[in-house]
Amino acid sequence: MIRLIAMRELRSLYAMPSTWFVLAVLQFIFAWFFLARLEAFLEIQPQLAQLANPPGVTLTVAAPLFYTAALLLMMLVPMFTMRLIAEERRNQTLALLLSAPLSGRHIVLGKFFGLLSFLLMLIASLPLMLYTLALGTSLDHGLLLANCIGLLLLTASYVALGMYISALTTQPIIAAIGALAVLVGLWLADIGAAAADSPWHLLSPLHHFQNFNAGLLDSADVAYFVLFTTFFLLLTMKRLHNNRVYG
């Protein structure tokens, strides 16, 4: 059932021209940024070579690329999550799901995995692009893997948050603005806090991504993302149930 709903979500996404447009534009941005970083690296390579322990190509090209992707996704994910439940409610298709023999858990997880798998396809081009560098040089696979896992967890947390906000309203556009406001708010709380040990840092998903970005797999960060995602998924299920209670 979860798979069925996820597949329906994907089918609807691919039926919309705007999806393909966003896909194309995003690939262009990734590619352009990748090439720009690569060019900068080639320019400073002679100077780097004089250092005792020079940073490699993975750290100078891949890490900033992943960080840019994380920032872009913060703006982009709300555009996709806004439709998840708000549009079902507006088009009154929610009645089909609510009167079908499945629980709120199936609906929420189906939609979550549906959109997540779409976004994974979208960001899968990043490691593919970076692995073309392996033709000319050796790469730091550990760093790449940490970044991939980090970006996956980050995207999952964005989707869960966006879906919850989508479940609160009937207007997709309000869901998009709401999710964007919360995500940017969390980000600003992170970069606005001056002290390094400020508790504000701990709230922000992007702050927890920075360790992954530097190639550090910290179980505390993983736990943060898992808890963040689960929390909002549970809230969404609760909200969907309230739909039946309050009408």
Partner: protein, 319 residues
């Protein structure tokens, strides 16, 4: 099935529901048997859609119980809902999908095995007259076809109980006739409950009627008997050379005569009387030159207005 009492597929007991401080549904009790079409009749805002939403699990009642094919909707929702097909007021269509994909999704969602889906799909497309549009995107279809797709998703899994909320709204007369024939056909093997404010819909498709007003069921009977409710015996009679009003009133059995126009009268008489033939022979004898003699027939509309009017008067008197 040969046993005398058909199985009860849906039963709702003492449903009530409030939105905020407003009590919308008061103590509604309904029962539906297999092979029966029940019409839920009422003014706009009488609580028809809310009742249907509760019956399909889209809205939880504040109190009361709903059983579908013996499964409690609150305690075993998945088992109960598997026997349910629901068409809400606005058909729940994913407009970006094509008819084929959408109906396949609807069937799988209701637990139809993937091996059986093609057969179910072919049968449903044929039943709802959707064969010619199966590959079309739903948003490009006309309103009538979209409504048919809505009905198709409600019946594709062959459910025991079909709930239709105003199924013929916004359709043209031919489509309305087709849909009614389909509902009648469905009513033979399944249980259908439909809400409507169109009285001729009830007349043509429903076996039984429940009238709803201000969230209460105020009248329930078979639709044939409902038409006899408050039935009056009488004729409308047109005469070329009419006699005086008093002469007509003097005919034995006639209780009251109203003059509609110089040559036309409305004649009321006691029930089961032979006044009709008496009137005919009188007209022939006296040379009144009868042009027309039509028995008075209470339309469903009259009955509906009468029942809801009586109820309003009664509740008004109570207050």
């Amino acid at each position: 099935m040969s046993n005398a009492t058909p199985e009860i597929t849906l039963s709702a007991r003492n449903l009530s529901r409030r939105f905020g401080s407003r009590q919308v549904i008061h103590d509604v009790t309904l029962e539906l048997k297999r092979g029966e079409v029940l019409g839920l009749l009422g003014h706009n805002g009488a609580g028809k859609s809310t009742t249907l939403q509760m019956l399909t699990g889209c809205l939880l009642p504040d109190s009361g119980e709903i059983d579908i094919c013996g499964f409690d909707l609150r305690k075993q929702p998945t088992l109960a809902k598997a026997h349910l097909g629901y068409l809400p007021e606005t058909p729940p269509l994913y407009r970006e999908l094509c008819v084929h994909d959408y109906l396949t999704f609807a069937a799988r969602l209701r637990g139809v095995q993937s091996t059986v889906v093609p057969d179910a799909l072919t049968q449903t497309l044929q039943r709802c007259g959707l064969d010619s549009v199966r590959q079309k995107i739903i948003s490009t279809l006309s309103k009538g076809y979209q409504q048919r797709v809505g009905i198709a998703q409600a019946i594709i899994h062959n459910p025991a109980v079909i709930v239709l909320d105003e199924p013929t709204v916004g359709l043209d007369p031919t489509q309305i006739r087709d849909i009614r024939t389909l509902i009648r056909e469905l009513g033979n093997a399944h249980s259908v409950i439909l809400s409507t404010h169109l009285l001729n819909e009830v007349e043509s498709v429903c076996d039984r009627v429940e009238i709803m007003q201000h969230g209460r069921l105020i009248y329930g009977d078979s639709s044939v008997r409902m038409q006899h409710y408050g039935h009056v015996s009488g004729f409308i009679i047109s005469l070329r050379h009419p006699p005086a009003l008093s002469e007509l009133e003097a005919i034995p059995g006639v209780s009251r005569v109203e003059q509609l126009s110089p040559g036309q009268f409305r004649v009321f008489h006691a029930q089961d009387d032979n006044t009709g033939s008496l009137l005919l022979s009188m007209a022939a004898q006296q040379g009144w030159q009868l042009e027309q003699l039509t028995p008075l027939h209470a339309t469903l509309e009259d009955v509906f207005v009468k029942i809801t009017g009586e109820e309003t008067a009664r509740t008004g008197a109570l207050k």
